[in-house]
């Protein structure tokens, strides 16, 4: 892995964020909402509206507004919310922290369950265990998160009363209660990830188990378990890094719905509120932060992959 490769990947992040900023700005420009009306209300006088538009730079050409906005973003100023009048950046980053906690716990649970399931299915291919795992993975793709979430609340909170239905308690405030509030959301997010990743692990491992070097290792007289651990898994699990990183995009989408249902004040919920209120600066900031998170995770995954897989020479 050369510095060149890292530089190229970093350039890609910059390009990605540039394109995303263009898309986001374009979308919020065409929105049939007038920022000035948003701030002053429907009953504001024409003079007041005109003055505010002038003040906010809304009369400038679109490209100039974009340049001004981008300039502020580059200096770390993501704008001021039209809804609350507060700076958007700190609110969004604080919300992002809660969402990342949710995301990390979900990925952790997924890895703990999906990789063993995939391995069992591959090793016992065509047997009962394999079929059970593929049934689980079909069940995982069968229901959208809002349905699994609603069913989970119905069963585990309303009927069994094992867990609190919705809400969020910071871990620093009350650790036990905080964890209890996170159990259902984390399980709901993990279901679809587990279904996807266990299938991928299975198909990668099945491919690897059919290669010549595995056969050679077996013929040398190395035990089945040792071949699996020392030879097969190393190669089969590598692509999982990329798959998990790509799933982060899906995860961030799922987080939006799950946060909305479980009333977790994360970035997804902030975005829904912003979209419903047509709070342009908040929408712009939220989407940009989400895209940046996705790009950075994928960058780290690519670097990790290149570092672990010595066969690939990047230039």
């Amino acid at each position: 892995m050369s510095p060149n490769y890292i530089a190229k990947r970093l350039m890609m992040i910059v390009y990605t964020l540039f394109i995303v900023s263009l898309i986001v700005f374009a979308i919020t420009q065409i929105l049939p909402a007038d920022a000035a009306v948003m701030m002053l209300g429907e009953n504001a006088t024409q003079d007041a509206l005109a003055a505010l538009r002038e003040n906010m730079g809304l009369n400038a050409p679109v490209w100039q507004q974009y340049a001004t906005w981008l300039g502020h973003v580059l200096q770390g100023d993501l704008g001021t919310s039209l809804r609350t009048g507060q700076p958007v950046g700190p609110v969004m980053f604080e919300a992002l922290g809660r969402s990342l906690l949710l995301a990390f716990l979900s990925i952790g649970l997924m890895l703990v369950l999906a990789i063993p399931l995939g391995i069992i299915a591959a090793v016992r291919r065509g047997k009962i265990a394999d079929m059970v795992v593929s049934l689980i993975s079909y069940a995982g793709v069968a229901l959208p998160e809002f349905v699994t979430a609603t069913l989970a609340v119905l069963v585990f909170a309303d009927l069994m009363k094992w867990l609190p239905p919705t809400g969020y308690v910071p871990l620093t405030e009350n650790f036990g209660s905080g964890i209890a509030h996170l159990v259902l959301p984390v399980c709901v997010i993990s279901v679809i990830l587990i279904a996807h990743v266990s299938r991928m692990v299975r198909s990668e491992l099945v491919d690897v188990l059919h290669t010549d070097y595995i056969r050679a290792a077996r013929l040398k007289g190395i035990s089945r378990g040792k071949v699996l651990r020392r030879h097969a898994l190393r190669n089969a699990l590598l692509p999982t890094i990329t798959i998990v990183a790509l799933d982060v995009g899906y995860l961030l989408g799922g987080v939006i719905v799950v946060e909305e249902i479980f009333a977790i004040p994360g970035i997804g919920r902030q975005l829904i509120v912003a979209i419903q209120a047509r709070d342009l600066p908040a929408i712009q900031a939220g989407v940009l932060i989400m895209a940046a998170t996705y790009s950075i995770v994928n960058f780290i995954a690519d670097i990790l992959y290149a570092w672990l897989d010595k066969r690939i020479q990047y230039d």
């Binding site: 390009y15 540039f18 065409i30 079909y138 069968a142 809002f146 609603t150 309303d158």
Partner: protein, 274 residues
């Protein structure tokens, strides 16, 4: 063709998927004719009823027959998902094939841009588009189609790249055919098989995206019998009768699993190695 269908039905995924998708198709075509009750007929006296001979799946919070609502809602849910997937696939296939055909720097630029667009989660993208256009079924369709296009473009491109190297494409270039002719007449027909597999699986994602948009109040509007909307409305009353939540969820699951299995079956049937 019959040979292909035989191959498809030989795998358990293909057979079960085919049966489920045909079932869904029948409901879409004849559902409104079969519905025993008016899907929007309110009846305060028969609310939250369990399954009975008159109401096969019971009634909902307004006393409406759940079975009739599911039969009628199939069109709103499934047809929209299929249309959106087809639209998204066509856009994506065109971009992907063009990118593979152009090659070089243009290809690099197009694909990096596609990657950038894909860094916005498709649900978020759909939310933005719907919000921009106003919440309605047709706008939700456009939103899902746009959200799907980049992923399909990426897949089409990788298939098209291998087609691009084939002799018949080089022959067409040597004959002096136009770029449009080569993309549409020579390359697209040969990238179709893997795209159909991907498309079939994506229909189930589209069903979920639509349902999620309606759930968040940005797709179909009450009193429509869209399945996602039914789940959304059922949430407040689920402790009174679990049926109003479970039946539309089951309907969504059947469609999603059906299209997923059919896609897997198609992949196996189209793969010459198996």
């Amino acid at each position: 063709m019959t040979d292909f269908i035989k191959r498809l039905l030989r795998t358990p995924q293909g057979a079960i998927g085919m049966v489920l998708v045909l079932l869904v198709l029948l409901v879409v075509l004849f559902g409104p004719m079969l519905a025993p009750h008016d899907p929007e007929g309110l009846s305060p006296l028969t609310r939250y009823k369990g399954p009975s001979l008159a109401f096969w799946l019971g009634t909902d919070q307004y006393g409406r027959d759940i079975f009739s609502r599911l039969l009628i809602g199939a069109r709103a849910t499934v047809v929209m998902a299929v249309l959106a997937t087809i639209a998204g696939t066509l856009i994506g296939a065109f971009i992907g094939t063009t990118s593979a055909f152009l090659g070089g720097r243009a290809d690099e630029l197009i694909m990096r841009t596609i990657d950038a667009v894909m860094s916005i989660p498709s649900l978020l993208f759909a939310l933005l588009v719907v919000n921009l256009l106003g919440s309605s079924t047709i706008n939700a369709l456009i939103a899902v189609a746009i959200a799907f296009a980049p992923g399909m473009a990426r897949i089409t491109r990788s298939v098209a790249l291998s087609v691009r190297k084939q002799d018949y494409v080089n022959a067409a270039i040597a004959r002096g055919e136009s770029s449009g002719y080569i993309i549409f007449r020579e390359m697209l027909p040969n990238v179709i098989a893997p795209i159909i597999v991907e498309m079939t699986i994506r229909v189930s994602f589209a069903v979920m995206l639509f349902a999620t948009l309606s759930f968040l109040g940005l797709g179909a509007q009450p009193p429509a019998a869209e399945w996602g909307l039914m789940v959304s409305e059922a949430r407040r009353y689920m402790h009174l009768s679990a049926g109003i939540l479970i039946w539309p969820s089951t309907a969504i699951a059947i469609v999603a699993v059906g299209f997923n299995l059919l896609g897997d079956g198609l992949r196996d049937a189209l793969n010459p190695r198996t």
